[in-house]
């Protein structure tokens, strides 16, 4: 007690400093820090899975957005229908957060799924995946013929 009284001034400054640092560290508008690190799984497409991979996943949760029929009615027991504009609502977000296994985003548009993936990843959620029917990740499907106005051929 005497020590505390003796160093009261020092302790007070330290406490204020610590609170300021904690506030600054954790108040990034609800997002986690180090955005590039959280985006890393998107670099090589390791965050993309196909329908064939789903049976092998344990405790998976499927988030169906935009009435996608990609799964054609399969896996209803592990599927939640959530519209993209309500994905951050408390109840919906908690369900995603509490999932012990992988969370799979399914949408009729890859663009929407990609946007939601980045948003949720930056919120600190890991194990988020995008379902894509196309196994070829970011592949150009057309061939360009230089020096010609003829139609490009399919690869």
């Amino acid at each position: 007690m005497n020590t505390l009284k003796k160093y009261g001034f020092v302790s007070a400054i330290f406490l204020i400093l610590l609170l300021a640092v904690i506030y600054k560290s954790f108040s990034h508008s609800g997002f986690r820090y180090d955005a590039p690190k959280l985006a890393a799984p998107s670099f090589q497409g390791s965050n993309i899975i196909t329908a064939e991979q789903i049976p092998g996943l344990q405790n998976a949760l499927i988030i169906e957005m935009n009435n996608s029929d990609a799964l054609k009615g399969r896996y209803n027991e592990i599927t939640l229908k959530i519209n993209p504009d309500s994905i951050l609502e408390r109840n919906n977000f908690r369900k995603i957060e509490k999932c012990k296994g992988p969370v799979i985003l399914v949408s009729s548009e890859n663009s929407i799924a990609a946007r939601m993936w980045m948003l949720l990843s930056q919120k600190g959620l890991k194990n988020i995946f995008i379902l894509s029917e196309d196994k070829d990740f970011e592949v150009l499907k057309k061939k360009f013929r230089p020096d010609s106005l003829s139609m490009p051929e399919h690869i």
Partner: protein, 209 residues
Amino acid sequence: MHYEKAMEMRKKITILLLLSGLVLALLPLSANRSFIVKPGKLLSEILNPEVSLTADQVAKLIVNEDSTTRLIDLRSPEDFRKLNIPGSVNIPYNDFISSDLYIYMTDKNVKYIFYSNSDFYSNYAMVFAKGLGYKNSYVMKGGLNEWFNTVMESKFIGQRISARENALYETRTKAARLFTQINSMPDSLKAKFIASNKFSARKLDGGCE
């Protein structure tokens, strides 16, 4: 007495400095590269249909040589060298995410339109940029695959064409011609053209040289 007081003060200052150092050591790294936009606001921004431009809209921008837009190709340098949309600059996706965006997105009055082969990289990049506060971020829907479907393979089928259809077809034809001309250049010329379109690192103001 005076000496004891001075020692006491020194002890306090030493302890304060040590504790401050400890706190600073625990500071998170890269804290300056975290999303600054609030989640709810970011969600509504990225779901706004206006962030997505069609291939036709991009074709029109190219044909009109719109100086208020800048196309960013997120593919690898090798893919970019093989072909790219005229007027675009290449920033490979990994580099884009890992770098400080102020190097690339310097002009607040310019619309930055991201594209890749499909929708993944471009939409990731758009959300990433918007999250960091760069509101002027957009995507070309469908990427180059859609560009080929819509612009390069444009065909008019039918006997009558409306004025609107005619204008659309004309834009597509011009854009396709430009695309073919630029991407048909010999490698040496193409390399020079690409080099002239590169981003240059933003120069730092002040500091030692």
